[in-house]
């Protein structure tokens, strides 16, 4: 639904269009690769093999997430990169968490991004971050970031309630 409504159509400067299109393509390709890696890791686990596909893609994922100059594209609800990031953080079919490096690098990247309500709704990233606050499996350092993010992301929603009361 959110993708159809396209509520945050980016205002594009003419000169930037090519570059932005290129970045959007790059993100779209990465999303496909990320989703394949998630499936491949689950299959590997089921066969008793090591889940390495997501790990191999991780440098590319964090490179995009950490590039401040393309934050608009990364956080665009239409490109919805954070939905694939959510898949990366999800527990595998056997209930185990993705590798610690994946958790650490992605949570650190998420903590630096100005994530708004719109991208939260389109990506569902809040659901998996909330799961990390409830699970006993993550390292304390990861849980701390997850708890902080849930706090930060719920603040605008809760603040609105306060505003109504005034």
């Amino acid at each position: 639904d959110n993708a159809l409504k396209n509520p945050t159509k980016r205002r594009r400067k003419k000169d930037d269009i090519d570059l932005e299109d290129e970045i959007d393509d790059q993100i779209a390709n990465l999303k496909v690769a990320m989703e394949k890696a998630c499936l491949a890791d689950n299959e590997a686990r089921e066969k008793g093999m090591a889940a390495t596909h997501k790990l191999k893609l991780l440098p590319q994922v964090t490179a995009l997430l950490n590039r401040t100059s393309i934050q608009d594209s990364v956080l665009d609800p239409e490109t919805n990169l954070l939905q694939s990031v959510k898949y990366f953080l999800e527990p595998l079919n056997d209930g185990s968490l993705p590798a610690y490096n994946i958790q650490r690098d992605i949570f650190n990247a998420l903590a630096k991004l100005p994530i708004n309500k719109e991208v939260l709704l389109s990506s569902g990233i809040g659901k998996v971050v909330y799961f990390y606050t409830r699970s006993k499996r993550p390292e304390p350092s990861i849980k701390r970031i997850a708890e902080r993010l849930v706090g930060e992301w719920s603040r605008p929603v809760l603040k609105r309630t306060d505003d109504y009361k005034k």
């Binding site: 909330y130 409830r134 309630t161």
Partner: protein, 49 residues
């Protein structure tokens, strides 16, 4: 047993805010299966000790 539900104390929240919280963070059911697996594993470990 783990508490189910929202990420914050929902007391005093209006319905719109509650709906938003659920839309963003889920109802607690989304990954309940993983939490259940976790608890089963823990139980199993205790039994083995």
């Amino acid at each position: 047993p783990r508490d189910k539900g929202l990420a914050v104390d929902a007391t005093g929240l209006d319905k719109d805010a509650l709906d938003d919280m659920e839309a963003i963070f889920g109802t607690g059911e989304d990954y309940a299966w993983a939490l259940e697996l976790e608890e089963d594993e823990e139980l199993h470990e205790h039994e083995e000790q």
